[in-house]
Assembly symmetry: C2
Homo-oligomer: 603 residues x 2
């Protein structure tokens, strides 16, 4: 401990009260007595004076310790270090001309300190409290309370707070009632993996944390609640991808006496107002609408980024008789033409070939269209007819590159769909600061699960088929379309919902189509079936992924940047070290034991 | 199925859109074409017409099927039953004079139906959908979706939504940032019993559901968030009393750079505004303040109902030398004088004697003061001096009754404290529709735990002692007072909080006082101690129990009346039957097994 430090004692706040934040003072406050509190961002000693940039959540103010205002304060200030916590009283004054900082809201003034209190000391932080600081993420997460001091991260959380506030205000003024649904619920089959909570009072039984309040919000409609919303934590025990968290937040809504139009127009009005209020961005309503089948055909993905034009073309028929065996035999062949793409290097093309491998593609065929020839490893396999067929179908011009994928529809669409996004970036086709919202509709109701050998609900088993598609459940389940809708912005799915089945008869037919017999469906969903029996109104709803929405609005690339205390991909919290061992007494009380003897809990 | 029913098919909503709710139409809308949707509350057949009271969440509208408007609709209407769901189109018209209902907002009009759709049928509900219906609570909870259709219960949920909305608006406009803290957290010792969640990715380890976001909100202050709030679910795995739920909702707040005054004034402004906006009740600020010791002395309880005056009096010294052995030897003797109480019957007094038994009292001494004598089983033991001493100390007058309790302070204060509330009811001393908020302050910091044989934090181990009381931690722990404050309204604790310890040194001294050595405290709370080491600001906060607050505002007697899907005292949900058995596969994935072999899960 150095000498100066040892001299300066921390003090209680006492009756000192902040008069302003650190981003409030300008020349308007010249000569005003103020009291500021915050952290030492920088200290500079210059010409016998000490300058400190005092930081709070709102910004910075320069405070200056000078002998003519207080020799004592100046002497004490020698003990101050980065991240020490101060309360200062002093007078606002104009900075000398050469010290004015036009980049700072408070850059015209400084506060000359008459008196100050040291409220707390700080050890030297393990990384700089600055946006430009590039510490390893794990270190930042371990000391999240320091990471959150950085203006950018703190700003994300404040943006999130504002987003939620605007959403709530909109919904409240639209007649929605906020209702809290239980967190300790019953494990529901037909979804992802549940987090379980052992019951102590009813040993051998378990609660489950909700994957969504789906059934509860439908029951609220049965209860006549009419319009419900909730900003609610949901839970899925899945192996985490980079952009997933085991707990996430949904803006959950449900409405009675509506069809698709009712839910969609309320939703897009909400999103449009949100973007206007928070980002001052105008989104035109109604949003564009696109069939699922069209989205897959043109963009390869069911959440297309429609900010740029590049579309996929089905050329299966054009190359049907090709001498290139792969093309001739494939179930589906699609092409992606990139104007100006002929400039791509071999190295770049190799990278894209590796990239599409992630989506199961075994390779990536390509042709560069030059003035006088087609450069391509596969050109030699293509007949003159095929070449002119492709030229016509794709509108090829000199300078283009065309990528081809020939495989199963899933591989073709995924690999070219994601390649399209990468090429959009590479060629600067994606306009910045633009938001392109779109509804995707007419999804298939069911999809075949090859492992379980049965039809599964694509959305969830409570989704209604389109008018007239109910009978397809028994005849051609794969052909039934759902009354479902997803909202996609810039290629991110931000929300999704559906009109629900609201009669017991239809719900039981759906369960049957999913391979449940009557007994099984009554065991698993008896309370829902009962509720539908007592005058359930027609209803539908939607849920928005708040984390993803905020991430999009904040322009962040990781979902962890918009969550105060996120977990790692191993679902652990590096700061608190959760999950952790618990005592044997705790396990005993819950009537459970660990499966592997060697994994003994701490006593 | 009767014949009429079989003829009328349910139909989809199609393009029908509601024009009004069922509580909107008055004579202003005379002759207007409208479309209403809702449930059949009552059907009356009268004079060849059919009248239906159509109900939605907002109210009732009478719709009438008449042959002159639509013979077809009238014929179809014969199939309608209670709780069937309808959409009707028709014309608003004035009711005949003799059918006007002045008790109904829509009582001047009816809607003559041109056309209607049956949207869904209903079985006969197991209880009437009316406020006056008195079904058993278990039946109501099993069919909660029907119970919630009753206007009173639905009204509670809407009141709750409004309460939360007002609170959020207040806090948002006061510069608070809403931050979501994790639900999957680490089990913290020093609290109630945790709900645990086994981790699949890290087998043998467990998350805990938060009992409160206490540590996270303090970490947010360390992070410079300055003002935080959250309306957040909290969890305690305790044996449930009548007014407890395993999950409950807190309005959680924390502020930096404040002392008691800052938190308390912000809190009482919030509560005052809430009562004004929601109930149109004016609460005078600042709220009255009372020391904990004074509260116990006068009211016996640390959450006194100060709506009425009756206070306890310590008469230990007056009866010190009494011939009545119990009085002479007791650690504490207190009296409760009730003016006019001499009218109580023996039966009533016997009931009160049983009642105080709940709080450990072995009996209940009493004296009725008559004009000419004292009626009492104990009068004969009291000397003339004692009698005049009591008369003087208690200001006794003819017509009074005095109750005495002589025992340990805990038994004396609890038994007379709760008896006071009962007598307040009995004698009509408690004004209706009055709210008397009060702050209780200067709580003891620690209390001795006879079982664990150590000092425990009364509030929690992060609470700061009062200025100058830090040194008492080592010297006289029982004498240290806390910088804590509870808000009590009408005898209900609605909120509580404290100024926190914000330096590592002080926090470590506190842990030591609680019997933790340095290693233990670092194991359990290392991340907090580290955070305090990096410039934690002075901070404090408060948490309000939302369920209790809404219950108070709604005038309900059970917390289950203000929760959409409450659990029973066995912590189970009668509707979904949670908690429930889970599959062995689920348990295997989590690396746990049930302790008792006979309690096999379902496969």
């Amino acid at each position: 401990m150095d000498e100066a430090r040892s001299k300066l004692e921390t003090q209680p706040l006492g009756w000192w009260v902040r008069s302003h934040g650190c981003n409030d003072l300008t020349l308007e406050h010249d000569d005003r007595e103020v009291c500021l509190m915050g952290w030492v961002q920088y200290r500079r000693d210059h010409g016998g004076l000490i300058f400190i940039d005092l930081r709070d959540r709102d910004g910075l103010t320069q405070v200056v310790f000078t002998p003519d205002v207080s020799a004592q304060a100046l002497e004490d200030a020698h003990a101050l270090r980065s991240e020490y916590v101060l309360a200062v009283k002093g007078v606002v004054r104009r900075r000398p001309e050469d010290m004015i900082n036009p980049n700072l809201y408070t850059g015209d003034i400084e506060v000359a300190v008459r008196e100050f209190k040291l409220l707390n000391r700080s050890r030297t932080p393990p990384f700089l409290i600055e946006d430009r600081a590039e510490a390893a993420e794990n270190l930042r997460l371990k000391h999240r309370y320091l990471d959150l001091r950085r203006p950018a991260v703190a700003g994300n959380l404040r943006l999130r707070s504002q987003v939620v506030h605007e959403i709530r205000n909109f919904l409240h003024s639209s007649g929605f009632t906020e209702v809290e649904t239980p967190v300790l619920t019953r494990s529901t089959p037909e979804g992802a993996r549940d987090f379980l909570v052992p019951s102590r009072l009813s040993q051998g039984h378990f609660y489950a944390l909700p994957q969504s309040p789906q059934l509860f919000k439908q029951l609220l409609m049965c209860a006549g609640m009419d319009r419900y919303y909730q900003v609610v934590k949901c839970f899925r025990d899945e192996d985490l991808r980079a952009d997933r968290q085991p707990e996430f937040t949904q803006v959950d809504m449900e409405m009675s006496f509506v069809e698709e139009e009712g839910v969609m127009s309320e939703s897009e009005n909400m999103i449009a107002r949100l973007f206007k209020e928070v980002l001052d961005v105008e989104l035109e309503t109604p949003f564009q609408r696109l069939d699922y089948s069209r989205a897959i055909a043109d963009y390869g993905l069911d959440r297309p980024d429609v900010r740029f034009d590049l579309t996929l073309k089905d050329v299966t028929d054009v190359v049907r008789g090709s001498g290139f065996n792969l093309f001739a035999r494939a179930e589906l062949v699609k092409a992606l033409r990139v104007p100006g793409g002929a400039e791509l290097s071999r190295r770049e093309i190799d990278e894209y070939t590796d990239f599409v491998g992630i989506y199961g593609a075994k390779g990536l065929a390509w042709i560069k269209i030059k003035e006088d020839e087609w450069q391509s490893p596969i050109a030699k396999f293509l007949s003159r007819e095929e070449c002119s067929g492709l030229t016509e179908a794709l509108g090829l011009e000199a300078g283009d590159i065309v990528f081809f994928q020939a495989a199963s529809p899933e591989v073709v669409n995924n690999s070219l769909g994601y390649l399209r996004l990468k090429l959009g970036e590479r060629f600067g086709l994606i306009p910045r600061d633009t938001f392109a919202p779109i509804w995707i509709m007419d999804f298939p109701l069911l999809e075949w699960d090859g492992e379980e050998k049965r039809w599964m609900a694509r959305h969830h088993p409570f989704t209604s088929p389109k008018d007239g598609h109910m009978d397809l459940l028994e005849k051609e389940p794969g052909q039934a379309l759902a009354r479902a809708y997803d909202m996609v912005i810039n290629g991110q799915e931000v929300g999704g919902g559906s009109i629900r089945l609201h009669t017991r008869e239809d719900q039981e037919r759906m369960f049957k189509a999913l391979g449940m017999d009557l007994e099984e469906s009554r065991n698993k969903f008896g309370f829902l079936l009962q509720a539908l029996d007592y005058g359930a109104p027609p209803h539908g709803g939607i849920a928005f992924g708040l984390d993803r929405l905020v991430m999009l609005m904040a322009g962040c690339s990781s979902i962890r940047d918009v969550i105060a205390f996120p977990k790692t991909q191993k679902a652990s919290c590096l700061m608190t070290e959760a999950p952790a061992a618990v005592s044997n007494r705790q396990l005993r009380e819950l009537g459970i034991r660990l499966r592997e003897a060697e994994k003994k809990p701490e006593e």
